[in-house]
């Protein structure tokens, strides 16, 4: 049982980490708590599902469709909501509230079109087949989620640390004014970050919908709540923190079920989270001096 619970914890952690990556990126660079990230997640899942059901596309192509659609949504989000608010120097809460509005309208629109009920991807081998080692089962999909969470984190870190654009992004996260003075295309970078964060959310949506077997309009909400916890735990805006925070929450939940009892799951998992924040208010990877990305 212990070995299987370890596998369960790692896959659940991978799920949380995958969701939190885009969420933390947009916070790190744009300094916006994007509460529409759950809706992007949902949008990705619905796009891929419709691509599979209506257009009969294979899963990989459906994933590509989800990436295109959510990237577009991320572009629109920045162009029509975040950028105008930036231009008017709206107070901190304004973009957050605006993203709540976007999330609600996206959720309701999808619900209006596709209905409120749970949908699912047609059966396929990815989520059902997998490795069996002794008594331990892990599906290919779980493996893929875990690996992808690490790969995406590594790619994001490489991009931020090793490329010119990443360098510019970090400069931007440090000080928008200084970055603009250095000739960095601030608005362009903001827009691109929103696009990348949204498509990361979309990719997470497709994979997690496959994993959990459930696509429904509100699917992003519980994920968003946990995502916020993960990102705060990891250190707001820190890519490594999102990954670590995700795995921490996954392990905390699974092992509180395994050893304390499932009724106590959230109490134990979030109690632990609270305890860690008391010890390290800036999060696991957060820096006291507010350096992000």
């Amino acid at each position: 049982m212990l070995a299987q619970q370890l596998v369960n914890a790692i896959s659940l952690g991978g799920v949380y980490a995958l969701f939190a990556l885009g969420f933390t990126l947009i916070f790190g660079v744009l300094n916006v708590v994007n509460l529409a990230h759950g809706a992007m997640f949902m949008l990705g899942a619905y796009t891929a599902l419709q691509a599979v059901l209506l257009l009969k596309l294979p899963l990989a192509a459906a994933m590509l469709a989800a990436i295109v659609v959510t990237a577009g949504a991320g572009w629109l989000l920045d162009r029509f909501i975040l950028a105008p608010l930036r231009a008017r120097q709206a107070p901190h809460l304004a973009p957050m509230i605006a993203t709540i509005g976007l999330a609600i309208s996206l959720n309701s629109t999808v619900q209006g079109i596709f209905g409120a009920e749970n949908l699912r991807f047609p059966v396929h081998g990815l989520a059902a087949d997998g490795l069996r080692l002794g008594g331990v089962q892990i599906t290919w999909l779980e493996l893929q989620i875990i690996i992808l969470a690490f790969v995406l984190m590594a790619a994001l870190l490489w991009w931020l640390m090793r490329t010119r654009m990443g360098c510019a992004l970090r400069a931007l996260a440090e000080s928008r004014k200084a970055a603009a003075l250095l000739g960095i295309d601030v608005e362009g970078l903001f827009r691109m970050t929103s696009v990348i964060a949204a498509l990361l959310g979309g990719v997470a949506g497709v994979l997690i919908a496959l994993y959990t077997n459930a696509v429904f309009p509100q699917m992003g909400q519980p994920m968003l709540h946990k995502g916020i916890a993960v990102v705060i735990l990891g250190g707001m805006g820190d890519i490594r923190g999102a990954l670590l925070g995700g795995f921490f929450l996954g392990f905390a939940e699974v092992f509180s079920i395994a050893y304390v009892g499932s009724t106590m799951r959230d109490a134990v998992a979030f109690g632990l989270l609270f305890a860690i924040l008391l010890l390290r208010p800036e999060g696991l990877f957060g820096k006291a001096a507010q350096r992000r990305a």
Binding site: N118, A214, S262
Partner: protein
């Protein structure tokens, strides 16, 4: 010029609308408050379709004592607060004769007292949790409660599968699935079936593997599952992924053909009890299924069937009532006429049974019906006798 004409047309339409709505005051206004959006819409939408089908059949054959039924449908979103709002709107603003709804027991606990207070019949077709009808003597339901169904389900499943011990998995933050759990627990105690472990999950959970892993390690013969299909179906799929091939014994929330879709390929060996089965060959049921399919080009479920029957139960009562046009008197006359109704509908033979309130005095009315136990096999229900 165009816009002048358009204005005239619109104006004419407005007058016509006003004219018709003043005509419609001679109709019997019945409020329908169901969850048409949100998670519970998967129950609320078929419920609405069931009402609409029955009402159109009744109106098509001349109405009730010459009066047509007019349904005023409102979306209570499966939320307590909304249910209360919608109830108030239907009772005080639309001045309906009676109310159907709400969809979830959770909402009924909150909103039914509003109807009871206003002395308006509230008729639930899908509220199966304990204690709903003890709210008061204006509260009716034709949904057979889980305390009637679950013991029968367990007993039949135990006989057929020879199970000796079970594990329990249930949603502990929802009054419906929690009350299902309480009833399962009582029934398990009565049948002296030991429980290896009891695990819970919360609404909106999507990952059940930690609980299922624990259940697997406790080595039961079956898993008792008190869940709505939105969580229950993924739990079944994940159990099969973990190599757990045990039978699932589900409560009322698992009794929906959606399970064949949501747990496709893994939906076998689920045992549920129900007042209604699509496989039940009774003539009333076949007629209902055919009519529903024709009207909505989809197969009905238990929720549609119960709503359909409920409308006929009310129609039966209304036939015996001389409506005076005085709202208060008519509302109370309907209440007095309802308890003695007996019909045989899509869900079989039906009558009411009065229950006691929390103060021990007679209160609302529950259904008396025989449960059908079914097992899923190859995306179909097989009736177990």
């Amino acid at each position: 010029m165009m816009s002048m004409q358009l204005t005239r047309v619109l104006f004419g339409a407005l007058i016509a609308l006003g004219y018709f709505s003043s005509l419609s005051s001679a109709q019997i206004k019945i409020g329908v408050a169901e969850a048409l959006t949100g998670n519970a819409a998967q129950y609320g939408v078929p419920i609405r379709k069931g009402f609409e089908l029955a009402a159109s059949e009744i109106n098509g054959s001349g109405g009730i004592n010459g009066q047509k039924i007019e349904l005023i449908v409102e979306d209570e979103q499966g939320k307590k607060e909304e249910a209360i709002n919608v109830f108030k709107k239907l009772i005080f603003q639309d001045k309906v004769l009676m109310l159907f709804g709400p969809t979830l027991s959770n909402s009924a606990q909150a909103s039914d007292p509003v109807a009871q207070g206003a002395k308006v019949v509230v008729f639930g077709t899908s509220n199966t949790a304990d204690g709903i009808t003890s709210i008061g003597n204006y509260v009716f339901r034709n949904s057979v409660t889980e305390s009637d169904i679950l013991p029968v389900t367990l007993k039949v499943a135990a006989q057929k599968t020879g199970l000796k011990k079970v594990a329990v998995l249930y949603g502990n933050d929802d009054i419906f699935t929690k009350s299902g759990f309480d009833n399962f627990k009582k029934a398990l105690e009565a049948l002296k079936i030991p429980v290896t472990t009891t695990e819970t999950f919360a609404k909106g959970d999507v990952d059940f593997k930690p609980q299922l892993t624990k259940i697997k390690a406790s080595n039961p013969d079956a898993i008792v599952l008190s869940a709505l299909v939105a969580e229950g179906a993924p739990a079944m799929v994940q159990a099969r992924q973990l190599g757990i091939a045990l039978p699932f014994i589900g409560g009322n929330g698992m009794n929906s053909p959606k399970v064949f879709d949501l747990a496709k390929g893994n939906s076998d060996n689920l045992w549920v009890g129900s007042p209604w089965s699509i496989e039940n060959p009774a003539a009333e049921n076949k007629r209902f299924i055919a009519a529903y399919q024709k009207a909505h080009s989809a197969l009905p479920d238990q929720f549609a069937a119960q709503a359909y029957d409920a409308m006929y139960i009310v129609a039966q009562a209304l036939k015996k009532v001389q409506l005076s046009g005085k709202l208060e008197a008519d509302r109370s006359a309907l209440r007095s006429a309802l308890p003695s109704v007996q019909i045989t509908g899509a869900t079989g033979a039906f009558k009411f049974r009065q229950v006691n309130g929390k103060d021990g005095k007679p209160a609302g009315y529950d259904a008396v019906q025989t449960a059908i136990v079914m097992m899923t096999k190859g995306s179909q229900y097989v009736i177990q006798k």
